[in-house]
Structures are given as C-alpha cells and as structure tokens.
C-alpha cells in the first residue's frame, strides 16, 4: 500500500465523522487527484469480504464502518452496561444516593467530606443514578435508576441491606441523614485539605457530637 493510502486509512480510522476528500488533500499536503488515487487503492483493499471494515462514502466524505457480519458479536461485547468495579468514592456516593434519595450534590459532598463531582458524573454516565428535580435551594437532586436495581440484583429500594450490620453504633434508621452529616463535618474538618481554622472547627464539631450523640 502506498504511504498516502496508509495515511488516509489512519485518518479515516481516527476521525469519528466522515472526512471530505478536500480535507484529506489539505492535511496530507497532496492534491485531490492523488488522494482519489489513494482512495481507489483503499477501495481495492477493502473490497467486500476482505476485511471486517468497509470504506464508505457518506455525507460528502469518506468513513470506515464495520461490516454487518460483526453486528451481533459487537452487541454482545459492547451493548451492555459498563460495569467496571466501583471505586471507593463511587461506592460511597452511590450508597448515599441509594439510602437518602433524592439527595443533592452539596449534601453528598458534606457527608463524604470531599467533593463527589467526578464520582457523580461517572455514576450518571453509567446510568446508575439520574437527576430527579431540584431541591428548594435549586440544587439538582439525584436518585438511583432501575438499572441500578438491576445491576445490584435488588427487587426494590426496600431490599437495600440494613446499614446496622456495618454500623458500630446502630441507631434509629430515621436519624441516618443527620448522623451522616455530622460524621461528614468531622471528616471535612480533619481532612487533608482542611485549610485555615480546620483544627478549631473539628474540635468544635467533635465536642458537639460528644455532647449530643454519645449521651443519647
């Protein structure tokens, strides 16, 4: 294969959209006739049955596309929810949404003590959580999706495991949100990035928790 044909093949491979012959000529610093010649060479290489890819002319340009023979295997490989293992940050964020929904991002951040932005974005992208209106303060609220239930093998949200199994101090389920927020404040106060005044804040919260929570 000529070098120009190889370069054009690589460009069509990379580009998500069809590329016009004019553009191919421009970026390869060749004239359009030369490009047309190289494309003819590619046409030959990609003759039906030769490859799993096809060279197609669409929307005023050239593009590579897969041969339909690969369709069902492609569906099995790619048309399924992406379910890589959850990172600790994602698991934390997802559990907060699952147990407290609907819940806003600032609340998630407060509970975790660190920002939940990228974890939230990933969970949305994977279809595990979705937006669910706005809080009275205008913050977007999140809830889990049916896909979430499916991927966790849960019949409904009621089937979520009882937290007390992992909780050193099981208390009323109703107090979950409050207790999480308190724990989150302590965490944020003592955190790595706790800037100015962090020690004082942490102490304050700690003594407040000591005074209130422990005695009850």
């Amino acid at each position: 294969m000529t070098e120009l044909a190889r370069i054009i093949e690589a460009l069509l491979f990379l580009s998500p959209d069809p590329v016009a012959v004019k553009d191919l000529a421009e970026v390869t610093a060749c004239d359009e006739d030369e490009v047309a010649e190289a494309v003819a060479e590619l046409d030959q290489r990609y003759a039906p049955g030769e490859h799993g890819l096809q060279l197609k002319r669409v929307a005023g340009g050239l593009t590579l596309a897969t041969d339909p023979i690969a369709e069902s295997a492609a569906r099995r490989l790619l048309a399924k929810p992406r379910t890589p293992p959850l990172t600790p940050a994602q698991a934390e964020t997802l559990s907060i949404v699952a147990y407290l929904q609907p819940v806003s991002r600032p609340e998630i951040t407060r509970i975790r003590g660190v920002s939940a932005d990228s974890a939230t974005a990933t969970l949305i992208e994977r279809g595990l959580i979705e937006e669910s209106g706005r809080s009275q303060f205008g913050a977007i609220l999140y809830r889990t999706t049916p896909l979430f239930l499916q991927l966790f093998g849960l019949e409904s949200l009621k089937a979520l495991p009882d937290v007390s199994a992992w909780d050193p101090t099981p208390e009323e389920q109703a107090a979950l949100r409050d207790r999480l927020l308190r724990a989150g404040e302590v965490r944020a106060g003592g955190g790595d990035d706790g800037g100015e005044g962090a020690p004082a804040g942490a102490t304050g919260v700690l003594s407040a928790v000591d005074g209130g929570g422990e005695s009850s």
Binding site: L14, E71, E92, G127, Q150, F152, G153, D162, W166, V209
Partner: protein, 251 residues
C-alpha cells in the same frame, strides 16, 4: 545590590526573580514543598560564576535567605506518619537516609525509561469515536446483577463511623498558659525578689518561654522589674511596689 532581586530562577514550579519566589512562598501561593531548593542554590552558584567575584555581603544575604527556606521546608517535610527517623541513632539514620536516596535514584532512572517509552509511542493514536447508535442503547433486561448490595451497606457504615481524632501525640502535650506562669511569678514575688532561674527551675523549654512572656507582661504593666548585669548572667526579678523595686541608680 539585592541578591534576591537580581537572581533569576527557572524552576519547574516557578520562573522569575528570587524575591518574587520568596513573596509567593510566604503568601502560600507557591508550595515550598514543590520548590527544588537545590536548583535555587545552583542558580546562585551560576550567578556567582558569571560575575567572577564574591561579594561577601550578597553571599551572606543569600545564605540567610536560603537557610530560612531550607529550615521551613524541612519542617514541612517532617513525615507525619513515620517519625521513625527521629528516633534512630545517627548511624541508623544515615543508613535510612542512604536507602531513601538510593530509592530516589532508582525511580528517577525508571522515570527516564518511561519517558523514552512514551516517546517511542509518539504518533501511535487510538480511536476515540462514540459507539454507533445500534450499540449505544443498552437494554435494561439484558443487565445482570454484577454488584453486591453489601458493598453499599458497607460504604454507608463506613461513612457513619466518626473518623479517629487527629493524633497530636508528636506535639508537646504539656500546656502552659501565660496566666498560670503569671500566677506562679506573682506567688514567688510575694515572698520577695527572685531570679528567672528560680522561676523556671526544672521547667521544660515551652514553660521557660511562656514564663518569659509572663514576665514581659508584668514588666509592661508595671508590676515587676528585672535586671541582668551581663550576658548569660542571672536575671533578677523584683515586684514593683509604688516607687519601684530596684533603685534605678544601682544598674
């Protein structure tokens, strides 16, 4: 000529005159931890070499500045999780340090290898196109349970756990207030004149320092007077009654 103003630095985290770097470090706008002070010293040595002469005054100024930065940085670098190095015998500490330097060298070379490797992959591009439409719709009924619900319960339980209190055991736990030392000084002075040594007998360094503050406070408010006849000599302290304790003429 001010060395800080004329020394032009070109560091990884900062480019500009040395005095600007100092300002930025003091304002916390440049993280001292990320400044390679050795580079600053090398720049200074280059500067010296290009000038061909050693101006002692400028050199002194530079030494003072760089020493201050070094001390500040070494304090910042004191490891929080492993203070083991401090407890080691000098010989052991040297061995530990050597091991760390060898480690650093090893990974610096590994870094060179990685950099070369990345350069070798220069020009290799991967496709980053969205999936065609027929693959984008993932059907709910095809989703199978891959995650364990317990993962959520566990994450929640961990969030409920209050984080352990930050350990301050490495700091002097003894707390002494100016008020306490004031009371102490006053009780000594009630029995008559005393000396600073007496006031801080058997005390640790922090207490000595705080006692000095207390004494300054008493001096300022005119409750006590003090006197030292020679450097490192005894500091005599006396309560100031109306009219003053020491006959000023005596000093």
């Amino acid at each position: 000529m001010n060395v800080a103003a004329i020394l032009d630095l070109d560091l990884e985290v900062f480019t500009g005159p040395f005095d600007l770097l100092l300002t930025l470090v003091l304002r916390d706008e440049v993280d001292l931890m990320e400044v390679q002070l050795a580079e600053v010293v090398i720049t200074y040595l280059d500067h010296l070499e290009s000038k061909g002469e050693l101006d002692l005054e400028v050199a002194t100024e530079f030494l003072v500045l760089i020493a201050a930065l070094l001390e500040l940085k070494s304090r910042l670098m004191l490891p929080r999780e492993d203070e083991d190095l401090l407890d080691l015998e000098p010989q052991e500490a040297a061995e530990e340090l050597l091991a760390r330097m060898l480690d650093a060298q090893r990974y610096r070379r590994a870094a060179e290898h990685l950099t070369t490797r990345l350069e070798g992959e220069e020009g290799v591009r991967y496709r980053q196109a969205p999936l065609p439409p027929f693959l984008r719709e993932s059907r709910l009924e095809e989703a199978v349970a891959v995650y364990k619900p317990a993962r959520l319960g566990k994450a929640m339980g961990e969030l409920l756990r209050l984080p352990p209190e930050v350990s301050t055991s490495h700091m002097t736990t003894q707390r002494v207030t100016v008020g306490e030392r004031l009371a102490h000084l006053k009780s000594l002075l009630r029995r008559g004149a005393t000396t600073f040594d007496e006031a801080v007998k058997g005390a640790d360094r922090v207490t000595v320092a705080v006692t000095l503050w207390a004494l300054l406070e008493m001096y300022k408010s005119g409750q006590a007077d003090w006197q030292q006849d020679e450097c490192f000599g005894e500091i005599r302290i006396a309560a100031v009654e109306a009219g003053g304790a020491f006959a000023r003429a005596a000093s």
